[in-house]
């Protein structure tokens, strides 16, 4: 069944999430705006520490307290703004309407409870049912993520399962209450390549079957190409370029996107050294006033260092924040 991309379900506008540390204010997310449609898969790409995970945690309002806070902006889930919601209200939204798959399956399940127990717990929060039907649902959940012999596996502890299997369980927990949006934060980084491919295929199938919206956080353009409809490139807390996956691959407009794409090794060419972007991203506590990539950009002009570039339209639904990027 092909996916049907529908109306926007999640709309993030001008989101600012800052961390207040002893050493200063870290602007982890500094003015993010994007929207996610029903059934759509959106990729968020960027290097470590650019604010991807903080964006995800902001959406669930699970920021590390008391350090990090949403300063400004709105997160509208099905038209409802989550930012002013209380912790109690958020609890009924988490898991049921928006959920998340964490990076490391080895540590994201509690070692002292059986996986059935943890799955049931997730279901129980939002469904007031008898034990027997909860167990039934847990087994169905495992079946949905292709865990073999789910009737037996529900009584297993996490240490009795492989990494790929555990990540499936985490997936089963995420989809157990049929949320509208799932954020997958580098879900395959710690899996080996064949298991990775299987897992991505599984996520794809689940997405097609349930028409849920996926936000895929990754630093792997290969995954983006395989999984996503649209992609946003993040740099130092801001989106520098966003657009349909194909456009971004064919016509990357922002020098950072271009550089990222050139650092992906190609199968067809033999290269001595892999391309890498010179320099380090700026510290999020001490950001330049101009373009944040200017210091590492080979095309940077004076203007780039003095003023933050506005978003330029490159093509349909494709924008880049760059002074030198050519619009249409």
């Amino acid at each position: 069944m092909p996916r049907k991309i529908g109306e926007p379900i999640l709309e993030v506008d001008d989101l600012h999430t800052y961390c207040f540390t002893r050493w200063g204010t870290v602007k982890a997310v500094d003015g993010m705006s994007f929207s996610l449609r029903e059934g759509e898969a959106l990729g968020i790409v960027g290097e470590s520490g650019c604010g991807k995970t903080m964006t995800a945690l902001s959406l669930l309002k699970l920021l590390p307290r008391p350090v990090a806070r949403i300063i400004k902006g709105s997160i509208k889930l099905q038209g409802e703004d989550l930012v002013p919601k209380s912790e109690r209200e958020m609890r009924s939204i988490r898991g049921r309407r928006i959920s998340m798959i964490l990076q490391d399956p080895q540590t994201s399940l509690n070692p002292v409870f059986t996986i059935g127990n943890q799955l049931i717990e997730a279901i129980q929060i939002h469904h007031d049912e008898r034990r027997r039907s909860l167990v039934r649902r847990a087994i169905d959940g495992l079946k949905q993520v292709r865990v073999a012999a789910p009737e037996r596996r529900v009584d297993d502890y996490p240490h009795q399962m492989s990494g790929g299997m555990k990540q499936r369980v985490v997936g089963a927990i995420a989809i157990s209450c049929e949320p509208k949006v799932i954020i997958a934060d580098e879900p395959t980084t710690s899996l080996d390549v064949t298991i990775q491919a299987q897992y991505l295929r599984l996520l794809r199938e689940i997405q097609e079957a349930t028409n849920l919206s996926l936000i895929f956080i990754t630093h792997d353009f290969g995954i983006v190409a395989k999984m996503c409809d649209r992609v946003m490139v993040m740099y130092a807390g801001r989106v520098v370029e966003s657009g349909p996956v194909r456009d971004i691959f064919n016509r990357p407009a922002h020098p950072y996107t271009q550089a990222l794409l050139s650092s992906v090794p190609s199968m067809d060419e033999d290269v001595e050294r892999l391309y890498s972007i010179a320099g380090q991203p700026p510290g999020l506590w001490d950001l330049p006033i101009g373009c944040r990539f200017a210091a590492r950009c080979q095309f940077a002009e004076d203007r780039c260092r003095q003023q933050y570039p506005p978003a330029v339209t490159i093509g349909e639904g494709h924008t880049a924040s760059c002074w030198i990027a050519k619009g249409t």
């Binding site: 699970l62 912790e87 609890r91 540590t107 509690n110 070692p111 717990e121 929060i125």
Partner: protein
């Protein structure tokens, strides 16, 4: 273990000096020594002691004539176990919640206050604490009796004296392991599910954080036994601790040996119990 106790007890002096009156003659000494086997070389004495101990015979008491050493210990043991058990119970009941809360509310006034209480417990010696508590609450305020054994009110002060140190150490241990667990991914996942915070803390975290404090629990059991010697003498609590002090003073080796062997046995039992509890708490320790 038995060798150490046997030797150490004999360092304390000649029991005959205590047993016999001042005007006793050399022949008296010889006769009594022969009667108790004290004229034999030490290794022979030890051999006899072990041989009999293995059959459950720890000999007769010298200080309390006509009583067996083990009989005396058995008679006093319930009092010690009662006090130690009560101290353990209140220390666990205080240390666990306070430790958990100071981890959850890390860096707040609550955490700081808990730290001060812990520090006091760690640094105040038992004999001093016992006397001060007695002076304030028994002598001045008259809330509790000063000493002896009776109802619950007799137990409060000795149990606090005995337990405070344990509370302090345990509280810090619970706090640090809770902090570690609170940071882990599965806690994040539990929150992502929409689980209420108290359930995240008390269900998901506490069970994972309880392994290290549990190990300490086994050590505590030992400390409570030895601690009872001081506390029981301060509060004249008629338990084995008081018994062993009296026995040491009278150089009643048989009783001292019996008490120490029993303490060692209790220590081993609690450690075994803790090992079994590990497996209950953490499935990874269970054998398949």
């Amino acid at each position: 273990m038995s060798l150490i106790v046997f030797t150490l007890a004999r360092f304390s002096g000649n029991p005959l000096d205590v047993m016999l009156p001042l005007e006793a003659t050399a022949e008296d000494y010889e006769r009594v020594a022969k009667h108790w086997g004290l004229d034999q070389p030490l290794y022979v004495q030890y051999g006899i002691f072990i041989g009999r101990a293995l059959q459950g015979d720890f000999g007769m008491s010298w200080k309390w004539p006509g009583r067996t050493a083990m009989g005396l210990v058995a008679e006093r043991l319930p009092a010690t176990l009662q006090l130690a058990g009560f101290a353990l119970l209140i220390s666990a009941l205080i240390a666990l919640p306070v430790g958990v809360l100071s981890a959850v509310k890390k860096g707040t006034g609550w955490d700081a206050a808990a730290k001060v209480i812990a520090l006091m417990g760690q640094s105040l010696p038992g004999f001093w604490l016992g006397i001060v508590l007695m002076w304030i609450f028994a002598v001045h305020l008259g809330w509790f009796p000063t000493s002896g054994r009776g109802g619950l009110q007799y137990m409060i002060l000795p149990a606090i004296t005995l337990g405070w140190f344990q509370v302090a150490a345990m509280m810090r241990l619970v706090r640090s392991s809770m902090l570690e667990v609170l940071d882990s991914e599965f806690v994040k996942l539990a929150r992502i599910k929409g689980l209420a915070e108290w359930k995240v803390v008390w269900k998901h975290c506490l069970r994972n954080a309880s392994i290290a404090p549990l190990t300490f629990f086994a050590i505590i059991a030992g400390v409570l036994m030895t601690g009872s010697v001081v506390t029981e003498s301060v509060f004249s609590w008629p338990g084995t601790g008081l018994l062993v002090i009296d026995a040491v003073r009278a150089r009643d080796f048989q009783v001292v040996q019996a008490v120490v062997i029993v303490f060692a046995g209790i220590f081993i039992m609690t450690n075994l119990l803790v090992d079994i509890l590990y497996a209950y708490l953490d499935p990874r320790i269970r054998l398949r």
